[in-house]
C-alpha cells in the first residue's frame, strides 16, 4: 500500500497554515469582551437560579438543551443498535481478574463518586454542575463498580431492554414536562414554578426538576453506552 505522498503533506501543511493565518489575521480579537449583559443583569432575578449558566441552559435556552438531549439519546440508540447484535454471547460477558486491590479501591471510591454525581445534579442551579455532568459522573462511578465486580454482575441488576425503555421513558417525561405549560394556555417551555429565595434548593423553579430528569437519563445512557462497548469487547 502506498504511503502518504510528500506532495500531499506539503499541500496539506500549506493549506492548513493559510487557514490558521487567515483566521488569526481576521478574527479581530482584542482581548476579552463584556458580553451577556442581559443575562447578568436579570438572570438570577428572572429565573431564580444563582448559577447563570444553568439559568440559560435550562430556562432561557431550554429548547437547545432538549435537542441536545435528543442528540445524546440518538447516539445511545445507535450504539446499542450496532453493537448489541454483534457476537459475544451471554456466557463470555466481561470476566476480569479478581484483583483485591482494584476491588477494594472501587469499593472505597464508588460511594463518594456517586454522591458527588447526585450533588452535582441537585445543586446544579446554585453551584457549578448540572444534570449532564452529574449524570456522567454517577455513570462513571458505576463503571468503576463494573471494573471491580465484573460488568455482568452489575448488568444483572438491570434488565437491559427495560433499561432502554426507561431511558426513552425519561425522555418522554422530559418532553411532556416541557410541553405541559400548554395545558394552562401558556407558551411551551415556560417555567410554571415559583422562583423561591435565591440560594435555597427550591429557588430555580423547574430547573431542579429538569436537572434531576436529565441526570437520570444521562446516568442510564452512559451506562448503556459503556456496557455495550464492554460487552462487545468480551472483557474489560
Amino acid at each position: 500500500m502506498r504511503r502518504t505522498s510528500f506532495s500531499m503533506v506539503v499541500v496539506t501543511a500549506l493549506l492548513v497554515a493559510c487557514f490558521c493565518g487567515v483566521l488569526m489575521a481576521t478574527f479581530g480579537y482584542r482581548g476579552a469582551g463584556e458580553g451577556g449583559a442581559p443575562y447578568i443583569a436579570r438572570g438570577a432575578v428572572e429565573t431564580g437560579a444563582a448559577n447563570l449558566v444553568s439559568a440559560i441552559y435550562l430556562n432561557y435556552r431550554l429548547y437547545d438543551t432538549l435537542l441536545e438531549i435528543l442528540v445524546f439519546s440518538v447516539a445511545v440508540l445507535g450504539v446499542r443498535f450496532y453493537l448489541a447484535e454483534q457476537k459475544g454471547s451471554e456466557e463470555e460477558v466481561a470476566r476480569i481478574p479478581e484483583s483485591q486491590v482494584i476491588r477494594t479501591s472501587a469499593d472505597l471510591l464508588f460511594p463518594p463518586i456517586f454522591l458527588l454525581g447526585i450533588y452535582l445534579v441537585l445543586f446544579g442551579h446554585l453551584s457549578p454542575g448540572g444534570g449532564f455532568s452529574g449524570g456522567t459522573v454517577a455513570g462513571t462511578g458505576l463503571l468503576l463498580c463494573a471494573v471491580a465486580l465484573g460488568a455482568d454482575v452489575v448488568a444483572r441488576r438491570f434488565h437491559e431492554a427495560a433499561l432502554e425503555r426507561l431511558e426513552w421513558g425519561v425522555l418522554l417525561v422530559i418532553l411532556l414536562f416541557a410541553l405541559s405549560p400548554i395545558a394552562l394556555w401558556r407558551l411551551p417551555l415556560t417555567d410554571l414554578f415559583p422562583r423561591g429565595n435565591l440560594g435555597s434548593l427550591a429557588s430555580g423553579g423547574s430547573i431542579l426538576i429538569y436537572n434531576a430528569l436529565i441526570g437520570l437519563k444521562v446516568f442510564i445512557g452512559t451506562w448503556v453506552v459503556v456496557y455495550s462497548f464492554i460487552r462487545h469487547r468480551g472483557e474489560i
Partner: protein, 119 residues
C-alpha cells in the same frame, strides 16, 4: 504575552487537528483529531469573553460583580455533549469496519471497498 490567549491557541489547535485528520491514516487517530478540532472550537467560545478580572457567573448576592459572560458557557455544554455523541457513534462504525477489514488504515479500507464495488 498578549499573543498567547485562548483564541489564538484555539486556532492553532484547530490547525493541528486538521493536520491529524488529513495526514494520519489510522482511523482511531483521525477520530482523536476530529475531537481536537471540535474541542478547539469550544476553547475558542469559552475564552471569547473570559475577562481576566472576571468571576464565574454564579450570583452570590445583590450587586454587580464582574461576572464573565455565561452564554458561551451554556452553549458549550451542549457542544461538548454533541461531540461525545458523534464520537461514540463514529467509534462504533470504526469498530465494525475493523472487524470486517482487519485494519484501521483508512486508505486501505477505502481501497478495499472500491475494489468490492467495482469502478
Amino acid at each position: 504575552m498578549n499573543f498567547i490567549n485562548g483564541v489564538t491557541i484555539a486556532i492553532v489547535l484547530f490547525g493541528i487537528g486538521l493536520l491529524g485528520l488529513i495526514l494520519r491514516r489510522d482511523l482511531v487517530i483521525k477520530l482523536l483529531s476530529l475531537g481536537l478540532v471540535n474541542g478547539s472550537v469550544i476553547l475558542c467560545l469559552v475564552s471569547l469573553n473570559a475577562r481576566p478580572d472576571g468571576v464565574p457567573p454564579i450570583v452570590r448576592g445583590p450587586g454587580g460583580a464582574p461576572y464573565v459572560d455565561p452564554l458561551p458557557q451554556a452553549l458549550v455544554l451542549s457542544a461538548i455533549v454533541i461531540n461525545f455523541a458523534i464520537l461514540a457513534l463514529a467509534l462504533v462504525f470504526v469498530m465494525l469496519l475493523v472487524e470486517r477489514y482487519h485494519t484501521t488504515d483508512s486508505q486501505r479500507i477505502e481501497h478495499e471497498i472500491e475494489e468490492e464495488e467495482g469502478p
